[in-house]
Symmetry: C2
Subunit: 398 residues, 2 copies
Amino acid sequence: MHKMLYEIPYKMRSITRSCCLINNLLKYRYRDVLIRSSSWSSKPSLDQLMATPITPITPYQVLFAGNREDGSHLMKSAKFLVKELLVRFSHLIATMQNLPYIAMCHPQLKSVLESYHNSFDMLYDYETVNDYKAAVAYSKTLTKILEKYNDELKSLASGFDSAYKSVAAQDHSESLDKILKWYLGIKILAEHYVALHHPKPKYVGIICTKLELQDLIKAKADFAREICDFKYGRSPNVEFDGDVNCHFPYFPAPLEYIVFELLKNAFEATVKNHPKLSDNLPNVKIAISNTKEYFYIRISDQGGGMAKENASKAMKYHYTTSRAKNTALEQNIFNSVMEIQFGGPAGGPMSGYGFGLPVSRIYAEYLGGSLQLHTIPEYGTDVYLELQHIDGKNCFKI
Amino acid sequence: MHKMLYEIPYKMRSITRSCCLINNLLKYRYRDVLIRSSSWSSKPSLDQLMATPITPITPYQVLFAGNREDGSHLMKSAKFLVKELLVRFSHLIATMQNLPYIAMCHPQLKSVLESYHNSFDMLYDYETVNDYKAAVAYSKTLTKILEKYNDELKSLASGFDSAYKSVAAQDHSESLDKILKWYLGIKILAEHYVALHHPKPKYVGIICTKLELQDLIKAKADFAREICDFKYGRSPNVEFDGDVNCHFPYFPAPLEYIVFELLKNAFEATVKNHPKLSDNLPNVKIAISNTKEYFYIRISDQGGGMAKENASKAMKYHYTTSRAKNTALEQNIFNSVMEIQFGGPAGGPMSGYGFGLPVSRIYAEYLGGSLQLHTIPEYGTDVYLELQHIDGKNCFKI
């Protein structure tokens, strides 16, 4: 059915067939939406929730919604989330439903939307959470929803890539930005709640109260080196500089995703730029700075940089760039390894669709910071990651 | 008279006095222009020249207008320049005359304009250059004009700084960009012609046929270190990386100006960020890359970087930035030393007016490239200089 829907607009042009297509659509594509809008009279409909604004909260509020000895925080947080996640899922669904029809006919994008609808349905069953048992059940539902996360992101990336490559020429990066930001917000809130049910030292939910920045980067570098060694038989060393002892409260998950993405690119570029096994691989240099409101990570490689014309595209979604072969983005042969080995916190398998850098940039922006890139052709690339501290006065909101 | 003209609009507001001002203006400020426009019937007037387009030429054309054994190149070049420099001076004058009246009432800006008028007059006497004697005389006139260059630039910087600080709130960086670009073009053409009269090995005019990039940077670093040692008692080392052996034909003069400006900033920031004499100063790191069409220099310091709010201003002219004390730009106490010791090729004394970086940027852009800055607060700053090769197909024009 998916395949048929997707192909019809291109292969069959007659009016009769278009009518047939519309009938099919009404029958299959919007069926769930129609049911939802009409059948649940006692609960707010998806349409109504789409019009409800979200309640953005600061990470500080998330932190202090943390552990209470009597477990009351689990009920209190759940009461907030029960409504908030439904509202956010409805916005996520609305954003996808507003994508061009032609893009959403793509089976992968359609399946992502269906998955969002399913998650919405799963959450819809919780009217309120009044006791510990209900809180545990709610946490288990969130875990199930989160389990689909990587698959959905992969489908989203691949679907956008192929839908926009083949049929939708316009630049819809703004919609994709929105989808990713809705999803990241949902993910952080849901993961935090699940983590509250499994307390561990130095953590409140997903917030590490004393994150050692260099240690986090080192761990990701070790992992990236392992993969690089496996694939190429060698990998560059990393070298640290700056405020290497800094520590502060932070969410490790999105930071790990971004740092891993950047290191992976740096390692791969370095190895490829020194193809002779006898070559000494130049170190990947990492500088750290920590100020009151922001912290900074610069990752510099001597991986040969990018040609002028590719540098400006590297931070954009793949489908907006030219499909030329052999660009720095296309050459990413980490992908298959990544898909097997990396079930990371925020969608490692997305690599290979040219999503790594732009998604990292979106995450950095969502977290009140920025990700910038400066390349020196035939020498190397520097990326500058800036992120806002979560305990500052003017902190970003989730 | 200058002082009076400049102060009138602010201190006296009555209509009578405004009339008096207008009379004075008509009498003094535009006197020369009026004389010029009317009295030289046989020659094109300044106004006519202002409407004549310039003849942009590629550095390659400049290079090949170089040495002929019979000295014929000196007459041939002069014939081109006799008209071209008049046209370019007239455009330079027109750009200044189109600045807001209130800014041009500033005595320093007014004196710069007068100096341009004088140069124009000096060049106006050469109707053509037919023999070697005339070529030598023309070269001497150009030398005299070039001798005023540093003083004029200093007045221009200081005049803009104080005129726009006190009276003209709008951003006129576009006009200043234009003035500097006109002037740089004139300077390159004039210096090249003068240099053709004083041939030296490896040079055709001001073009070095085999410029060793690392050597040029090293020489400027040695000089900057001397000044830094003199002022602070110590200076950082420099460390090279990348394509350190590259060489190609280029104009050293503007490159020396830019590189010196960047190194000076990097050294000063490094020393100031490590105020204890016992501190080891971290090296200033210089990376070089050379590709077919462009070459690249990255200068990285650990001079503590700039605060977020200052970083975006550093590349703009000073008068457009806040006048807050203690910014990275204001702290430049190289200035007095610079004014004594550095009679460099393109206006070393400009430092201290916050002109160093923006002028370097303008020069880089004029030379078909760019100058970009990325700072990591409380760590350091990287500047990226990109310049176009002068023997490429799509080369910039002078």
